[in-house]
């Protein structure tokens, strides 16, 4: 499936404007919420923005964003993902899809809806039935070698953000090398080094979103699926190692 589900949605009244739906995924603690806060600060004068947060539990991220005061707080809504954030952006997007459609209807016209995934592992990416484009967020403090590991989010999200670059000297990471590794892993797709303490980097990130919005508005953007899941490891019940498999050969999906 390469198109979003918006065309099949049904509301009885006039259709609200279809916003650019932009996903923000990445491991726990890499700065997804603060990236969204930065984007809202940079773009709130130009675009009408709404935010859906997904937490592993409760609505912590929505509370953080409301406290940051970057948007009218009613335009920030939380979806609880039953301790399984991965499922809510990929296998079962209905909760998020409905939340996005509700936001678009209630605050019509919105230009951009940001959907923040609950922090998960490197294989968690958004289904194109939920978002039009997605950012994958890493940070330098997670280790300079993470970008080299690849995987669907790092390799094929529309944009890879390497966050907290101001921390690099303290964690012995060579930012230029990490960005170069990421660019290699992505075969030339966009990579940005960002720190909210370096406003010029936030401006470049904001410009990327502006450009994506223009392309989307002009109908020039087709949602890409970064998946299928990369081969991954399962511990063996007997405790004797485990096995690596992938899901692209007709194996049934399963819970992790």
């Amino acid at each position: 499936m390469t198109t979003t589900d918006a065309t099949t949605s049904t509301t009885t009244s006039a259709q609200p404007r279809r916003a650019l739906r932009l996903g923000v995924a990445g491991p726990v603690g890499t700065g997804k919420s603060s990236t969204i806060a930065s984007l809202c600060r940079a773009l709130a004068d130009e675009f009408r923005i709404g935010v859906i947060t997904n937490d592993i539990y409760t609505d912590e991220d929505a509370r953080f964003l409301r406290a940051e005061g970057v948007l009218p707080e009613e335009r920030i809504r939380a979806v609880e993902t039953g301790a399984c954030p991965h499922t809510a952006i990929r296998d079962d997007v209905t909760m998020n899809l409905l939340a996005v459609e509700d936001l678009e209807r209630d605050f019509d016209p919105l230009d951009i809806v940001l959907v923040e995934s609950g922090g998960d592992n490197l294989t968690a990416t958004f289904s194109p039935s939920l978002v039009d484009a997605q950012l994958f967020v890493l940070d330098v403090a997670g280790g300079g070698d993470v970008a080299r590991k690849g995987g669907p989010g790092i390799g094929r999200a529309d944009l890879l953000v390497v966050n907290k670059i101001d921390l690099a000297p303290y964690v012995d990471v060579d930012v230029e090398q990490m960005l170069a590794d990421a660019t290699d892993a992505r075969e030339g797709r966009a990579v940005l080094g960002v720190s909210r303490k370096q406003p010029e980097t936030v401006e470049v990130l904001g410009q990327w979103v502006r450009d994506m919005h223009s392309t989307f508005r002009e109908g020039g953007h087709t949602p890409q699926d970064p998946g299928p899941m990369a081969p991954h490891f399962h511990a063996d019940e007997s405790g004797e190692g485990g096995y690596v498999h992938s899901h692209d050969d007709g194996e049934p999906a399963h819970q992790h």
Partner: protein
């Protein structure tokens, strides 16, 4: 003209699809009150989990299943009328289901439970619009917002299932949702949770028969059994910090 799927035992694949926990309709994020029951010490192990599930299916489970059966019957009747005389026949469906919805809401004292059932019902209807586009005329006539048991009944009818199917499905869901959530919330053998479900199977079937018998009943005459602790748990859960499940 609509084509009403033929009801009967040959629709079992549709029943399996609808009752499959992997159906992408948002249900996996809910524990049906179990998380709070565990937090309060009401459920502690496989034995008390079994008691919790039994209490649930015999009270709110039976009520939900009866409303699902009633919704199936009203939807199937409207579809037959639609087949006979074009889409005009579906027109009264919205009002019939809204009447059922009001009766079910009246049987649900907790505002949190009403909101959760409404959200789950909306998600099921939203998901089915994409999953089974052929059901769209029926779902449009039914309306986008229905309590979950009524949504199940309507969707079941749209897929050609019977009132008994709808009742059995809702009862199984009432037991399986918390049973599956238990493994994330308790230190419990996952086989033990399914052992509870197997143990309840004869009761689930018997209750489904009873619920299905209400399919044609007036909405006012549907069962009104209550489970007050479930209502209290749902209210407590809305303010429970660091919950894993939305309900």
């Amino acid at each position: 003209m609509l084509t009403t799927p033929t009801p009967g035992p040959d629709r079992s694949a549709a029943l399996l699809l609808l009752s499959d926990g992997r159906l992408p309709a948002g249900g996996y994020a809910h524990s049906a009150g179990l998380e709070q029951a565990i937090a309060r010490g009401w459920v502690r192990d496989a034995t008390t989990l079994g008691d919790y599930l039994r209490g649930r299916i015999h009270t709110t489970g039976l009520v939900s299943a009866s409303f699902a059966a009633a919704a199936q019957h009203r939807t199937a009747s409207a579809m037959e009328a639609g087949d006979a005389g074009g889409t005009e026949g579906l027109a009264p469906l919205g009002a019939a289901l809204a009447g059922l919805d009001r009766e079910l809401v009246a049987r649900t004292p907790s505002p949190a439970l009403r909101r959760i059932a409404r959200d789950l019902g909306r998600m099921l209807l939203r998901a089915m619009r994409s999953i089974a586009p052929s059901t769209q005329p029926v779902l449009d006539a039914a309306g986008p917002v229905l309590q979950q048991p009524i949504a199940y009944g309507t969707v079941a009818a749209a897929l050609g299932l019977t009132a008994r199917d709808a009742a059995g499905l809702v009862l199984y869901e009432a037991a399986a949702t918390p049973a599956v959530a238990a493994v994330k919330l308790l230190s419990i053998d996952p086989f033990a949770t399914h052992r509870c479900l197997v143990g309840l199977a004869p009761e689930l079937d018997e209750l489904a028969e009873r619920a299905a018998a209400f399919a044609t009943a007036d909405a006012r005459d549907l069962p009104a059994l209550a489970a007050p602790l479930s209502d209290i748990a749902a209210e407590l859960h809305t303010n429970h910090d660091q919950r894993l499940f939305a309900s």
